[in-house]
């Protein structure tokens, strides 16, 4: 069988189940592919083919003994390098954690292991997930498989590039303001950000605790459902984990299609949206119309406040979350420190990159006495208004359709010196984190320069099944995520 590395996880599960392929064969195919394209993509920070093959053989033995752990048994899944796996490095894309090894498994990693998935490699990212291009990685710049002169998006750019290039079957990323959806869109794959609290954050190195969520990056919506099924659900080790009933997401995909009522927020189709992106997204909207869905224009009036609110709240939380990387216990320790205060300054000064420093300073500023009420407290209030906008909209519609990113992938280096234009990459995604909603980016075509475009479907809190079903209606008939870049 050729090109196993480009099959969907669901299809591979069927082949494994029928015994038509072995997990070892599949793993070998992914390893070979990685060896052949990784020098062009630079998606991985580390991977270990020998260990992966050992795991694949164990999977084959389980299956032979009739003890298969389910559909994910033997499927390679890559992890963004901020999800802890016991005994493996965890850099978060930062020099400060360059030599750190995690002594424990993140809950989502443990859940994938329990289901027999092969944890395949550690994927590149913007340092501490701060960025929209993966250029803020301290180690390497990942290239977009569709055009290696372009960025893959970020911060989960290593994860989305690896899936798009066939270097892994699926991956996990994290999304704080769009970090799964935006790079998924730019790399032409499916990226899902679950409702806040659906997937445990235990073992996810925190950027902004009230916004972070882990989610799957796959080639199809069906695969997204498959992996979400494995990682969703209450975890006693995360106090913000929601005690929600987890429905059967795959069953939801198979349910007969409904005539969904879908909202188009007019603020998401306003100035700043690239015409080619608008065209692709509108085409997807037309598809739903033709399927009998009702399309309604709605308004989310506080949309323009989302960006400033996000850049107050996320840095505020980050300034505190990243304080632990201090050179005292396990992080990079400066050799030049004179005393303990100097140790902080030099270790952190040497260990953190520019963007991380910028956000720590911003966050410390908005929390400082005298400014707290004007910035942090006010931003929290507006956050509530933003959520209310969405909840009002959901009184009228089942889900919303929007673009994911205002532009397709841009050139490497193009926005590095202009943080504000970089921040605008997430203009259509970060409100969703502020509101705690689920959203999915589904590939919906290409620009004239053959760069992928994604459409975003925003669901209601904890109604991932409904959202996946809507997304799958489009994806199962288009399958843009199964198209391959020439490498």
């Amino acid at each position: 069988m050729s090109d196993l590395y480009y099959q969907s996880a669901a299809e591979l599960a069927r082949l494994l189940e029928k015994g038509e392929i072995s997990a070892r064969q599949l793993m070998q195919s992914v390893i070979d592919r990685t060896h052949s394209v990784e020098e062009k993509i630079h998606a991985f920070l580390r991977f270990d083919p020998d260990e992966a093959l050992v795991e694949a053989e164990k999977s084959d033995q389980r299956r032979a003994a009739g003890k298969s752990l389910g559909s994910l048994d033997g499927i390679p899944i890559g992890l963004k390098d901020l999800i802890c796996v016991s005994g493996q490095g965890l850099t978060c894309g930062s020099r400060i954690l360059e030599n750190y090894v995690s002594p424990y498994d993140a809950t989502c990693a443990a859940r994938l292991k329990e289901r027999g998935a092969i944890l395949w490699g550690r994927l590149n990212m913007d340092e501490f997930a701060m960025g929209s291009s993966t250029e803020n990685s301290a180690f390497q710049t990942t290239c977009n498989p569709w055009n290696t002169e372009c960025i893959p998006g970020g911060s989960s750019g290593g994860s989305t590039a690896a899936v798009a290039a066939g270097e892994t079957i699926a991956a996990l990323g994290s999304d704080t303001g769009g970090s799964i959806r935006q790079p998924a869109s730019l790399c032409g794959v499916v990226g899902l950000k679950p409702s806040y609290g659906l997937v445990s954050r235990y073992g996810l190195a925190a950027f902004a605790s009230s916004l972070d969520q882990i989610g799957p990056i796959t080639r199809t919506v069906e695969d997204s459902a498959l992996i979400l099924q494995a990682i969703a659900g209450h975890d006693a080790r995360d106090s913000t984990s929601f005690k929600a009933h987890i429905p059967d997401y795959q069953a939801a995909l198979k349910a007969p299609p409904r005539r969904w009522k879908l909202g188009l927020p007019r603020e998401y189709f306003a100035e700043g949206l690239d015409p080619e992106i608008r065209q692709a997204v509108e085409k997807a909207v037309d598809f739903y119309k033709n399927e009998g869905c009702e399309i309604v224009e709605i308004s989310l009036p506080h949309t323009e406040l989302a960006l400033p609110v996000y850049y107050i709240l996320a840095p505020a939380e980050a300034s505190s979350n990243l304080a632990r990387y201090d050179g005292v216990r396990y992080t990079h320790r400066s050799e030049r420190a004179e005393d303990h205060v100097d140790l902080y300054f030099k270790s952190r000064g040497e260990g953190f990159g520019q963007e991380v420093k910028r956000r720590i300073i911003l966050g410390a500023y908005v929390l400082s006495s005298g400014y707290y009420d004007a910035y942090y407290l006010r931003a929290q209030k507006i956050r509530t208004l933003i959520r209310n906008d969405f909840m009002d909209a959901f009184k009228k519609v089942d889900a919303l359709i929007t673009p994911v990113s205002p532009t397709a992938a841009f050139k490497i280096g193009e926005r590095l010196d202009d943080p504000l234009s970089m921040y605008l990459s997430d203009i259509y995604t970060l409100s969703i984190n502020l509101a705690g909603l689920p959203a999915i980016s589904v590939p919906c075509g290409f620009t004239s320069k053959k760069l992928p475009v994604g459409v975003q479907i925003i669901g209601q809190p904890f109604k991932e099944a409904e959202m996946l079903s809507i997304a799958n209606l489009y994806d199962s008939t288009h399958r843009f995520g199964m198209e391959h870049p020439e490498l």
Partner: protein, 485 residues
């Protein structure tokens, strides 16, 4: 010289009696090898998250109830951000503007004019009690410092008083009262040597009659009650002298040098940390239901000073005895149980406050096990008092057999029968012994007859010794006097 009055507010940190830490299941005990009571959460490793210790919340609520605080329906968690190597995350999870307990009072008892006279009681107002996590411990050496994270993350409450204390004695009494109540209700061991109770003192002075508070200084981490008393006294004198000379007090943190007995400026108000408090996004607010509070309230003992008042009034006990019996709730329970079986509170009080406590302190281990686990039962003490009252044994015999009752758990009557200690009231037998002792001891006999009343005691002792304490002492006295007349 003008008269100055001190105004003092205390912040008392108390470690709660929990087996595990505030936000993770790692164990906590004192005195373990460094960095053995840790896990990824305690060490603040990337990806770790806090999960509340329910027991710590319950103990905090019970502390609030002991001091009559309002228990908040909702309390929340905030991060107090500052860099220090004893703090794994470089922020401490604490409660900033919505603490678990609000208001309340601590009843204090001031020293009386003499040891056996009760001093004044007064209620000192509390601002709040909040719950937080403790930090690790630093040890400094000449060329470096070492951190032990065993203590990091231990449940810690901070009891904050209003500026409602007016002397070093009152400050000490406040700490004593907190200690008494916390130990009494089993909420903390409050062992200051183990750092289970620590205190920051805010001190200011003002001219007597003035309503306005003076500028205060704060002394941090005072780790003994005498340290609080001495440092507060020092600060009152220092500030009064400065003001007397027309000087100015600066708002600052000062360090108490316990060896040399003075305070020294550590950092000024301007150098104070900006803690950048904000709600901890990793933790949900805690809702406390009325039912939960009621249920916790029902498990609390009577307050020790309430019990002391009852013992003075209802049982007519002397202050010292009542005070001793109210240091420990099990001791009080033991005493009251015995009294219900034999209504002689003073006699029972004596045995419990003196003999029982003596035996307890002789065997330190037994004390830590708690009274209920000891073989001796309250019924036996009641029985012992009855045996004396009924003239079956003498007081002396009663005291002599107490250690055996304590150790073996045998009833006093069993011991009395086994050893044949029953008091003799056979007049002829006692008279015979008295006559023999008089014959054998001409010296005290002569002295007594010469008018030395006390000399009879030697003869009494001789009779008691000869009868192995079984002779009825009143009868011996009577017969000796008859024979000597």
């Amino acid at each position: 010289m003008k008269d100055y009055e001190a105004v003092i507010g205390l912040e008392v940190h108390v470690q709660l009696k929990c087996d595990t830490k505030m936000f993770t299941r790692a164990a906590y005990r004192f005195g373990e090898p460094p960095n053995t009571l840790t896990n990824p959460v305690v060490m603040g490793l990337p990806g770790t998250l806090p999960v509340l210790n329910k027991r710590a919340i319950e103990l905090s609520i019970q502390t609030g109830l002991m001091f009559g605080c309002h228990i908040a329906e909702v309390c929340k968690w905030d991060r107090k951000n500052y860099f220090y190597p004893d703090q794994p995350k470089n922020y401490q999870i604490s409660q900033f503007d919505q603490p678990i307990c609000i208001g309340g009072v601590v009843e204090i008892e001031l020293p009386g004019p003499a040891r056996n006279v009760m001093g004044e009681h007064r209620e000192v107002k509390l601002t709040r009690i909040h719950l937080e996590e403790d930090v690790g411990k630093l040890t400094h050496y000449e060329n470096g410092s070492l951190v032990d994270f065993n203590r990091a993350g231990t449940p810690l409450i901070e009891i904050v008083s209003e500026p409602d204390l007016f002397s070093a004695e009152e400050a000490a009494a406040f700490l004593n009262a907190i200690r008494l109540n916390m130990i009494y209700a089993g909420l903390s061991d409050c062992d200051m040597e183990k750092g289970q109770m620590r205190c920051d003192a805010n001190v200011s002075v003002r001219p007597v009659g003035s309503e306005k508070l003076g500028i205060r200084t704060e002394m941090k981490n005072l780790n003994s009650i005498s340290g609080v008393r001495d440092s507060v006294n020092y600060e009152i004198r220092r500030q009064s002298k400065v003001l007397e000379k027309g000087g100015e007090i600066f708002q600052e943190t000062r360090r108490w040098n316990a060896e040399q007995g003075y305070t020294v400026a550590l950092r000024s108000k301007e150098e104070a940390h900006d803690y950048r408090y904000f709600p901890d996004p990793d933790l949900m607010p805690v809702r406390v239901s009325r039912e939960w509070v009621d249920c916790l309230h029902a498990k609390l003992p009577e307050r020790p000073f309430d019990r002391q008042r009852r013992y003075l009034k209802d049982f007519g006990l002397p202050f010292t005895m009542a005070s001793v019996l109210c240091q420990n709730s099990e001791l009080g329970n033991f005493f009251e149980e015995a009294v219900t079986k034999c209504n002689k509170p003073l006699e029972i009080g004596n045995l419990v406050a003196n003999d029982l406590l003596r035996e307890l302190s002789a065997g330190k281990d037994a004390e830590s096990q708690g009274l209920v686990l000891l073989p001796i039962k309250s019924g036996h003490v009641a029985e012992l008092v009855k045996l004396v009252e009924e003239g079956v044994i003498s007081r002396q015999i009663a005291q002599d057999i107490f250690p055996q009752m304590f150790q073996t758990g045998e009833s006093p009557s069993t011991i009395v029968e086994k050893k044949g200690l029953r008091q003799t009231t056979d007049m002829a037998e006692i008279e015979g012994v008295c006559a023999r002792i008089i014959a054998e001891n001409p010296k005290p006999v002569g002295e007594f007859r010469a008018g030395n009343e006390k000399a009879i005691n030697a003869l009494k002792g001789g009779v008691m010794k000869a009868t192995r304490g079984k002779a009825n002492p009143a009868m011996v006295d009577k017969l000796l006097r008859k024979l000597l007349a």
